[in-house]
Symmetry: C2
Subunit: 261 residues, 2 copies
């Protein structure tokens, strides 16, 4: 990419884990990135050709993206708050939205605009590019969510779903809660057959392959920090137990086949 | 297809449900089909351009395919036995193989060759043709399984897996047992989100779409007549309950957020 005739706008990125690196990879040609992550290895910075920044430098940018685990968001918000520039825009990228939106609204100074986002993809599903992948965008404070959505659509080719944190978490509880739970159970059952497989089993295992390398924090956020996830799990288990019971009764399994859940 | 210069060999097909129709569709140009199914509607025969036959006519063919539910196989075997021609070849297409192989070996006269098969596909997955789809082929009696495999490979383009009934059922218990169980639970949870979906969730739902219209008999055969299916379900439920327990215990956060896994 030829260097821009005008200086690129600065963008602060807090967190350089798997998802932070994906963000950097796709924004590096559009912004001058200031990346802060004291825990990411030097090799990750070297591979991306990016220099490690101090927190105050990254946080002082006009746009700041928080790409840290949801479980650490409250402390990150506390840490960056004193360094933010007036009128800055802060975005997160967590897999749940109700709690992160609350944390950012409560912890970020009044003059700061806030947009909560959830890219519905990860390094695995984005391997062949971002075009057509989905991202949920929730206005939290200030009026910049639509403009963020337009940028994501036009500059990155993403399909933007404008929604609220609660509506997001209700849908994500089913979409991600079920996928990750099923995947985790199937991975625990491995080795599973690879030869005598059906097309539908192959599809399920392809889905498993897309989430099996997600950081444990992603699974924890999805299952634990989504206020609707436990309810979805409960319905899944109740229905599964019911079906197992129906099968067990007529197969003569001495009535011990019921799920304890 | 131009009519053959020599008469096509006769093939008896017992059962004209969803799978029997798929068999007929792909074998009609290679065999003169004699189809028996007193329960299939006239419209199904009319749509296929096939005349309904009596049992004795279909059973007297040199090759006979049994495409009835596994649960009725014993009575079908009893009914056809008196009408079979000496040296005939009988095949089944059920989703499990240990019990059908036993039933056929016990119920079919000594001079009859037997090959148990399980096409690892259905009308949904075969919509775009058979090429590359898999079929398990198990020798049961007589030496014709390899020749059957060669025919399926060359004439129909199938990928043939030569195996034993027990090895088949062990793998199928995981492959189909898990897919159908998960699909049945997810269908029962509908409506599920269709908008805010991830690629992995889309794949899982695509898998669900491939089996959701299977006849209930297919589900019952897979879950109930496979001697290893209950054990696979048990492992799935135990692991799922364990993961749910781990999530539930620490759902109150407060420093217990580490998964023991």
């Amino acid at each position: 990419m030829p260097s821009s005739p005008v200086p690129l706008p600065a963008l602060g990125l807090i967190g350089f884990g798997a998802f932070g690196r994906l963000v950097a990879q796709h924004l590096a040609s559009l912004f001058s990135l200031r990346v802060h992550d004291p825990f990411a290895p030097d090799s990750a910075f070297a591979a991306a050709g990016i220099e490690r920044c101090d927190l105050d430098v990254a946080a002082a940018c006009p746009v700041v993206i928080l790409a840290t685990p949801v479980s650490t968001l409250a402390s990150v918000v506390r840490d960056i708050a004193p360094h933010l520039s007036p009128g800055a825009l802060v975005l997160d990228v967590g897999s749940v939205k109700v709690r992160p939106a609350e944390i950012m609204r409560a912890g970020l100074p009044a003059g700061i605009d806030i947009v909560a986002t959830h890219p519905l993809f990860g390094p695995q599903s984005a391997r062949e590019g971002l075009r057509g992948l989905k991202i949920a965008v929730c206005p939290v404070r200030g009026g910049r969510a639509r403009r963020v959505g337009a940028f994501l659509r036009h500059a990155l080719g993403l399909t933007v779903i404008l929604t609220t944190p609660e509506a997001h978490d209700r849908e994500a509880a089913a979409v991600q809660g079920l996928t990750h739970l099923i995947a985790k159970v199937l991975v625990a059952m491995e080795p599973l057959p690879t030869r005598m497989t059906t097309r539908s089993f192959d599809l399920v295992m392809q889905a498993v392959g897309m989430v099996r390398h997600d950081a444990p924090e992603v699974y924890h956020a999805i299952e634990r920090e989504n206020p609707f996830a436990a309810e979805v799990r409960r319905r899944f288990f109740d229905l599964a137990a019911q079906m197992d019971g129906e099968l067990g009764e007529s197969a003569g399994f001495e009535g011990k086949t019921r799920l304890r859940a």
